[in-house]
Symmetry: C2
Amino acid sequence: MAIAHPARREVLRLLREDGPRPVVQLAEHFDMSRPSLSEHLKLLKDAGLVSERKVGRQRLYSLEPDRLQEFSDWLAPYERFWQTRLTGLAELLEAEDDD
Amino acid sequence: MAIAHPARREVLRLLREDGPRPVVQLAEHFDMSRPSLSEHLKLLKDAGLVSERKVGRQRLYSLEPDRLQEFSDWLAPYERFWQTRLTGLAELLEAEDDD
DNA sequence: TTGACTGGTAGGAAATCTCCTACCTATGGT
DNA sequence: ACCATAGGTAGGAGATTTCCTACCAGTCAA
């Protein structure tokens, strides 16, 4: 699973906070070797969570939000078990008829 | 990671949809042996995603939503990358001053 | 008490994951 | 052309996960 490894979650966080970044810059944040990070990036890319584009001799990795949306969608059915601020709002506005 | 394995996600789904269930009833949905499922349940319990209570000779497993909330919280910062109906609503109502 | 049922634990085999070093290609600068 | 930089791939070692078959303890019913 793509988001299972802490390093990959950290990559996602970095891309989210700092925007698109080349591999060496991402690698600065990790103790592991660059090839190992490359494999994590490949896994994230295969999972569709990030995309990659060439700029000169660099490859910029960017967050690809569509797949993260799937995690959100997966979590959505659990939301009725707790009261999030957002679902509270949604029910308030849309006045759904479920109890 | 607790939600990494498909079987464990399936357990969560079953508990969410059908409510608390004993082990044998959960096991019906899987090809694996019951002891293997027991280990998955232990992992889920250790992660705080489910709880277990004894009823007669059975142990009923229930969804424990607090920890799933953490996943939701983890996902929240990514929401500005896409437009969910809910964040759209939230911004509409709260009229936050960002951008 | 004896037997059936529920479900956890032990030990270990096999599969998967993670990480490394070595090596490769591609681009840009001089 | 030559060298440095960016970054992917290969092969393999070690750790972790997953799954199995025993086996054990607790509960209920006769």
